[in-house]
């Protein structure tokens, strides 16, 4: 299918589709060492047809579309004294990936990192990233990677919107379920996103509360809407998502009597004080009394709170309350 000139002439008549125009525009702006004026672009790139106004509008839209693909079009002037005639070009070094020196083993890690997204919401971004890296002509070295298969399960389209918003630094708004299940409107400059314990989170500056807040995606009760323009805020340089997702240090200690063999999750998180035949006495770190009570209540008569006394009193109250409510 390598072509002769008459085939070529046959072909050019059909060049009008937008995707081809975008590719040809990219080639023209990328291949030039000088600035190209609009009229030069309209002459060189197929597909700019119709009235001057229509061509202009088409060109403006195309520029926006390329920008959304991450292709930066530079605008410049031929002569600093005359600014009326501007020119356009794409710098090869801003178009081209500057990732060099990726080893075969690193590519295998990326391979694994992208495969995690299979079937999940960033699937297509992950695949296109991998494709680009493979185009650098590196072979992966899969044998170097141990057999692990972490998985991501997020089909929530809101997550893709959040990633776009963070990437473009755009404000988002959504409806959020409060602890009492009322709905609240939230407007946020999203700073970061992540996952922990099977839940997904977004953190950012809550514009009404004027403070950084963390939101769980499954408590967002609406489709997330993007607001305003791109690059409308700056993510503070000291922001780190990991600090927002880190579990706070458990500063309180409870002494518990646990029936041997039971409640192993609690025992494993504790220090054993007395390893008895029927009961094991442990020191269990906790953060809030309400969490301690709920952990211990779950285990019914398999755990007794020895200390703190206040928690011991509260658990008796709670149990009495449960009995009274169910008699």
């Amino acid at each position: 299918m390598f072509l002769r000139v008459d085939d070529v002439l046959q072909r050019v008549h059909t060049v009008s589709r937008k995707s081809e125009r975008l590719v040809n525009l990219t080639i023209a702006l990328l291949g030039t060492t000088r600035w190209l004026t609009k009229s030069q672009i309209f002459a060189a790139v197929d597909g700019y047809e119709g009235e001057p106004d229509a061509k202009e509008r088409m060109f403006e839209r195309d520029k926006d579309d390329l920008r959304n693909l991450g292709i930066e079009i530079e605008v410049g002037s031929f002569d600093p004294l005359f600014e009326d005639e501007v020119g356009y070009r794409i710098r090869p070094d801003s178009y081209r990936s500057d990732i060099s020196e990726i080893s075969a083993r690193e590519l295998s890690l990326i391979n694994l990192a992208t495969s995690i997204w299979q079937g999940a919401v960033l699937d297509s971004s992950a695949l296109s990233a991998l494709t680009k890296l493979k185009s650098l002509g590196i072979d992966s070295d899969l044998d170097a990677i141990p057999s692990i298969a972490p998985a991501i399960h997020i089909s929530d389209e809101n997550f893709a919107t959040i990633v776009d918003a963070i990437a473009e630094r755009r404000i988002i708004s959504f409806t959020y379920l409060s602890p009492e299940l009322t709905t609240q409107e939230r407007v946020l400059q999203p700073y970061g996103a992540g996952t922990k314990g099977g839940y997904w989170y977004v953190a950012g500056l809550d514009l009404d509360r004027k403070d950084i807040r963390l939101f769980r995606l499954d408590r967002i009760d609406s489709e997330i809407a993007l607001q305003g323009k791109a690059a409308s805020y700056v993510i503070p340089s000291d922001f780190a998502m990991s600090t927002h997702l880190a579990s706070p240090a458990k500063t309180e200690i409870a002494t518990l009597k646990v029936r041997r063999g039971k409640a192993q999750k609690i025992v494993l998180a504790s220090t054993i004080i007395d390893d008895g035949d029927e009961w094991v006495v442990v020191e269990y770190p906790f953060l809030h009394q309400s969490e301690l009570l709920s952990d211990v209540l779950w285990h019914l008569d398999d755990i007794e709170i020895v200390k703190p006394l206040q928690a011991r009193t509260s658990i008796i109250e709670h149990l009495n309350q449960v009995v009274a409510a169910h008699e």
Binding site: T131, A167, E180, A193, G261, K265, S294, L300
Partner: protein
């Protein structure tokens, strides 16, 4: 993937096809389509479009693909790998983060690789991303391997009800995801029956050199039971603790559950924030379990 791509997405793909084909001359159309996550028909449409592009109308890109194998010539201008988009970087960094927390501790070499990749790719994005996997990736890999090779697996399992740990030999049947959590369906020799295990509760797994007991994955009958629960306070927390199968928007909700004992404990653990209204047998079970728990304080 089934969604039809927009002209902009198609243009992006055409731009990325050029360097990929250039570095993989003679790649088959099926392999190329799979690499780009599209159907062969869509790939052929992309290639047909790309074939009409070039520096000018007399200097077009030379593409050969009629044979089912693709090669490219005369595409110097586009033969550059495009910069990764921020979305792409986020997807990779999230994935790398999960891997890093799953790697065996002794693989510090790979941890170093991940650290260097995060810096090379991240350009500041890596600090806005943080991911910790919900289940152990090594366990997941063993389960998949056991299903693929038809071998038995020995697991240490933390029971959800009483929190005891038991060692079980199981023949995995299936693996699925529900409500962001991983589950394993397997024939369990200890129970001598088919059981479902939550993978994040599997503390340890070893692949055995024993052939799995062949069991047909009979679709187990839906044995869910219904209960009515009143949510008194702490509405969001209470509702979330009842799991996924909750119907009703008000304070009285209908819960579907496989285990009424699980429901009884959930209600007791709420410490009075919830109340079982029906069935009455579960109501009295809650009362008697709570009375028994009170007895240890007397």
């Amino acid at each position: 993937m089934s969604k039809k791509s927009t002209p902009t997405q198609k243009a992006a793909r055409m731009l990325d096809l050029v360097p990929y084909i250039s570095s993989h001359q003679g790649v088959s159309t099926t392999e190329l389509a799979a690499q780009f996550g599209i159907s062969v028909a869509e790939l052929l449409s992309d290639l047909n479009s790309l074939w009409m592009c070039g520096d000018n109308r007399f200097d077009l890109i030379d593409l050969e693909f009629a044979s089912g194998y693709v090669s490219i010539r005369n595409a110097e201008t586009l033969n550059r790998v495009r910069n990764l988009s921020q979305q792409e970087i986020i997807a990779i960094v999230l994935g790398l983060d999960l891997i890093s927390k799953d790697l065996p501790e002794e693989r510090t070499d790979l941890q170093d690789d991940i650290q260097s990749l995060r810096t090379k790719l991240g350009k500041g994005i890596e600090r806005v991303i943080d991911a910790t996997p919900a289940s152990d990736g090594e366990v997941l890999a063993l389960i998949k391997q056991s299903i693929a090779t038809g071998r038995k697996l020995k697991i240490e399992y933390l029971a959800s009800l009483d929190g005891s740990i038991t060692s079980r030999v199981v023949s995995p049947i299936d693996f699925y995801v529900s409500d962001n959590r991983d589950f394993l369906v397997a024939f369990c020799e200890l129970a001598d029956a088919q059981r479902t295990f939550r993978i994040d509760r599997i503390k340890n797994a070893i692949l055995l050199e024993l052939e799995a007991t062949s069991t047909t994955s009979s679709a187990s009958p839906d044995t869910r039971m219904k209960a009515t629960v009143e949510i008194v306070t702490e509405k969001r927390r209470s509702r979330e603790s009842l799991g996924k199968f909750v119907a009703g928007a008000g304070s009285e909700v209908e819960v579907s559950t496989y285990s009424l004992s699980w429901l009884a404990r959930t209600v007791i653990a709420s410490g009075g924030a919830m109340k079982v209204l029906a069935p009455s047998a579960t109501r009295s079970e809650v009362a008697s379990l709570a009375t028994k728990a009170l007895a240890i304080y007397r």
